[in-house]
């Protein structure tokens, strides 16, 4: 709390991004973990909560007649514009936020104070939900070709790898250690995915320290061992996910890539995904397009193309497709690396696994996938997503890109995934939120040193508890789309990549379809299930009654009445929406409404729901938010259960007469 100069400021205005006329008056609070804006309305008192960890940048703009504007940009793409009446107050808030958004110690992060009121055992159980040993067993290892290797048990060989890795049977400790000395950051080739149908595997590593001519016997033996672990093929692919030019430039620095002459029986391939700096700039440019005020179609499309974002997404996807094909169709093992083997390698391996194995398209499987290829293999969450204040050049939307690849696949294959878009958005949200301990630090070693599992909670447990919200109603495990490998169309396919407005314009409600098909179908599904259960029960009763010779008619009519009662009503007045400004300058505004179960709010609920106890200063009326949780469609009896509906609250401007 010592960084907070001003814990409370009154008469602050929260501006709508596009229309300054739609400002809301309220009070701004600063706590140790959140910035909170509470609207002054009488009944609604809508609250906007932002975790400090989510704050990406704060901009203090020039003071105007109305006050001093403060622009907060968040890592989950929320943009909040406040106007603080006094310049001095604004400055204090600005300075405080700058410090609060850049913690220097892990202990400052929210996960260490977050209290979901679970006891110690429940916390432990939460962490045990995803078990990687179980996962490797499910894949079919260890077996005749693959073994667990504990040479890294004290992180002595590679400090960014986990303690347990899986290596080919013929790879001795000597080979592994030798190979690790020849790899950047000591990240030697290790198993990422094993396909038990044909023994092909996906292995991952970092670049070899080959320079122009260096060789390493053990590293060459390591690759041979990988090849031998797949008797069905006499060669392996080595896939370097960097553009050829970058890889070649690395040679001058004593690193580089595998020379086909030196490594027997490999086929080498560049895939050409750009590096973290290019990706960071690409996202930046795309966000600038999103921030344009009333862009024309032209502005938008050109801006999107200039950012190159979709091109990069496609590049990652193409790499994943190549590897999945190699494994599933050719039965050839693949070794994947980039420079350090913790960014593009992780993206590409996890996309390939997702395409290959339907298990990763289930909710549990997806959590396992992230735990395996991202968390355990040392993706640098802290550096990439700024848990702590660090080098801005290390920040890059690496996992965001992977998550977007998954969404693009969901759009192409609507029946193939057990989870829905909301699941992905919430995961992305919490990678940055630092509310849970899963995505802290840069490696397993660091997390264990900080005793994360004993001091924080697991996101997976929370998501699993609420899994009903994250289900895809179109998923059926026996559906043809969900079986086997996914085959996205390769070419032509540019048009298949869409701009993900659900993520990048997440908080602009006016942009999204007002009615959630997913939620409706889930409600339908549940009701059908309930009705079927009812039917069964009544059927049994009927049988019993027949035995005791009562009239049939009484029972039948009862049945009918019950089904009518549970009838779903989708049309109710909460579907009303308000027009945006269709006038000349086409200023658009999202329809404001007291949030009634909006999807976004449930993310906030995860943050503030249990904060009430630990922050007694807050007299914030959070009844509405918790009320929202109850509204979530579990039993659609009667109407009014559809979330994300705006109420009929109209905006009062005669909007288009500016023309």
């Amino acid at each position: 709390m010592e960084h907070i100069r001003m814990p409370k400021v009154e008469n602050v205005r929260l501006l709508d991004r596009l229309s300054s006329r739609k400002a809301v008056l309220g009070t701004l609070y600063l706590t140790a973990t959140h910035v909170i804006f509470v609207e002054n309305g009488s009944e609604t008192r809508k609250e906007t909560w932002v975790l400090h960890s989510q704050i990406s940048s704060i901009e203090k703009q020039a003071t105007t007649a109305t006050g001093c504007p403060l622009l907060i940009r968040c890592k989950n793409f929320q943009v909040i514009q406040l106007v603080i009446p006094q310049e001095r107050d604004c400055h204090d808030v600005y300075i405080s936020l700058i410090r609060l958004a850049r913690p220097v110690k892990y202990e400052e992060l929210y996960c260490f104070s977050f209290n979901p009121k679970l006891d110690k055992e429940e916390r432990e159980q939460g962490w045990k939900l995803v078990d990687l040993t179980e996962e490797y067993n499910r894949m079919g290892v260890p077996n005749n070709y693959w073994q667990i290797c504990d040479v890294n048990r004290d992180y002595g060989v590679c400090d960014s790898y986990p303690t347990e890795v899986y290596v080919p049977k013929s790879a001795t400790a000597h080979i592994i250690v030798g190979s690790s000395k020849f790899r950047s950051r000591r990240r030697f080739p290790a198993l990422s995915y094993y396909c038990k149908d044909n023994n092909a595997s996906i292995c991952r590593s970092s670049q070899p320290l080959s320079g122009f001519s260096a060789r390493c016997l053990e590293d060459e033996q390591m690759l041979q061992a990988i090849r031998k672990a797949n008797p069905g093929s006499d060669f392996i692919y080595v896939v370097d996910t960097r553009p050829k030019l970058n890889a070649m430039a690395n040679r001058a620095a004593g690193k580089g890539y595998e020379n086909e002459d030196n490594y027997s029986n490999i086929k080498f391939q560049f895939i050409g995904i750009e590096n973290i700096h290019v990706m960071r700039n690409s996202l930046q440019k795309m966000l600038e397009v999103c921030e344009l005020k009333s862009p024309s179609m032209s502005d938008f499309l050109w801006g999107l193309e200039n950012s190159g974002w979709l091109k990069h997404i496609k590049a990652i996807m193409d790499a994943g497709i190549f590897i999945a094909k190699a494994v599933a169709e050719e039965g050839v093992s693949v070794l994947v690396h980039c420079s350090d083997g913790w960014d593009r390698t992780a993206q590409v391996c996890s996309v390939a696994s997702l395409l290959l194995d339907p298990y990763y398209r289930t909710m549990k499987g997806f959590m396992v996938l992230i735990e395996k290829d991202w968390v355990s293999f040392g993706h640098k969450f802290n550096h990439r997503y700024g848990n702590l204040d660090g080098d801005p050049k290390e920040i890059s939307p690496v996992i965001d890109q992977f998550i977007e690849c998954v969404w693009q696949l969901m759009e192409q294959f609507p029946c193939a995934f057990e989870f829905n878009e909301r699941f992905l958005i919430h995961i992305q949200h919490h990678i940055y939120s630092c509310q849970f301990g899963n995505f802290l630090c840069n490696s397993q070693k660091e997390r264990r040193e900080l005793k994360i599992q004993e001091r924080t909670y697991s996101l997976w447990a929370q998501l699993w508890k609420n899994r009903a919200d994250y289900l895809n109603p179109l998923y059926r495990s026996d559906h043809s789309q969900t079986q086997g490998t996914l085959h996205p169309q390769i070419a032509p396919c540019n048009f298949l990549y869409k701009f993900w407005s659900g993520m990048y314009n997440r908080f602009e409600k006016g942009l999204h379809p007002r009615q959630s098909v997913t939620d409706y179908l889930m409600a339908v599904k549940e009701e059908t299930q309930q009705l079927e259960e009812e039917l069964e029960v009544l059927g049994e009763r009927l049988a019993n009654l027949q035995k005791s010779q009562l009239g049939d008619n009484k029972v039948k009519s009862k049945q009918q009445d019950r089904s009518k009662q549970l009838g779903l009503s989708t049309s109710n007045n909460s579907l009303a929406n308000t027009p945006q400004e269709y006038s000349n300058d086409l200023k658009s505004f999202p329809s404001w409404s007291p949030s009634q179960g909006d999807e976004e709010d449930s993310a906030l609920i995860l943050t503030q729901d249990n904060l009430k106890s630990s922050d007694p200063d807050l007299s914030a009326n959070s009844d509405q938010e918790s009320g929202v949780e109850d509204l979530s469609c579990r039993s659609p009896s009667g109407g009014g259960c559809l979330p994300s509906e705006d109420s009929g609250k109209d905006s009062d401007e005669a909007v288009f007469l500016a023309g």
Partner: protein, 324 residues
């Protein structure tokens, strides 16, 4: 909502008492009306030189004129052809796809059409005012705006039969020259002067509405695709000729079958219904932000990308709803 063609004051600024009286009967004493002209102010002014023009403020004091230029004619056809070209070009890298999409300008036209229709709807619903819509001839962009505005405003136009009725009224009987406009479509090199995909633009806008309001239209994409097909080449006489006069001369009603008759058969209707439909009495206001307007893949990529997975998804939706 009224529609017409442009008034003809001409270079001499003629007046027409009958026309003024006619418009005068629409409004009460103190009321105000809006004239939505689908030409730019400049184009409308230029039209005066060749005998056309706009309603002068002095002669029509109760009416306020708004200009919302909508593309039509040659330019729209070019836009369509370029889009189809871009979609079927297999060599396009991701780098250039969006640029090509943009330079076709098709989505900009969709955005403009939706915005203008919403404006007309706003005049009526929010301002409680009457609107007169016209362009030059009153047979193209005019009909686009009035028909679309009705889909937005009127829930009965969103039912299957209501929509077909809307088409009959606002496109066919109103005299949209289908024969001229839908002669050759996008691939032909002929490029006849009168060819223009206004009707397709309308269908695209309706598709955008169905995407933004998945529960509010009683019909689905399949109907829109069928209408598109039939506008260009049909076993039915519904879209023949250019106006009612020609149709009666050619004895279309006696010699051909009606598409509407076929579509309204219960067996056929089933195929076109939207399983998610539930009657929504409210006005549906679409977002016209660029992010909200998407390429109609079902039409433009129809033969280029397999629709199998999406069809399966719809089949699943149908199944879920029916089971219930």
């Amino acid at each position: 909502m009224l529609r017409s063609s442009q008034p003809l004051p001409g270079p001499n600024r003629r007046r027409c008492r009958e026309d003024e009286a006619l418009l005068g009967t629409i409004l009460d004493e103190a009321e105000r009306g809006f004239i939505l002209d689908t030409r730019s102010a400049q184009a409308a002014k230029q039209a005066r030189m060749s005998g056309g023009g706009t309603e002068p403020k002095s002669s029509y004091p109760q009416w306020r004129r708004l200009h919302r230029p909508l593309e039509r004619g040659r330019a729209l056809q070019e836009s369509f052809a370029r889009l189809v070209d871009a979609c079927s070009d297999p060599s396009l890298s991701m780098d250039r796809w969006l640029g090509r999409l943009e330079s076709s300008r098709w989505l900009s036209h969709v955005k403009a059409a939706l915005s203008t229709a919403c404006l007309a709807a706003q005049c009526m619903d929010r301002e409680q005012s009457s609107v007169l819509v016209h362009g030059a001839e009153g047979t193209d962009t005019t009909l686009l705006v009035t028909a679309l505005a009705q889909v937005i405003l009127d829930p009965s136009c969103r039912t299957l039969m209501g929509f077909l009725g809307l088409l009959q009224r606002e496109w066919i009987e109103a005299g949209h020259p289908f024969h001229l406009r839908c002669a050759h479509s996008a691939y032909s090199h002929a490029r006849p002067k009168q060819e223009a995909p206004l009707f397709l633009l309308f269908l695209d806008c309706v598709w955008q509405l169905s995407r933004q309001f998945p529960f509010s239209l009683q019909f689905g994409e399949r109907l829109l695709l069928t209408l598109f097909d039939n506008a260009y080449a049909s076993a039915y006489g519904t879209f023949l000729c250019n106006n009612e006069k020609e149709r009666s001369l050619c004895k279309v009603k006696e010699n051909t079958h009606s598409l509407w008759a076929w579509l309204s058969q219960p067996k056929e209707q089933q195929k076109f219904l939207n399983p998610l439909y539930s009657h929504n009495i409210l006005v549906i206001w679409p977002s016209v932000e660029p992010q909200s307007i998407q390429l109609w893949q079902g039409l433009f990529l129809r033969w280029i990308r397999p629709s199998q997975h999406l069809d399966e998804a719809w089949a699943e939706i149908q199944r879920l709803v029916e089971e219930n």
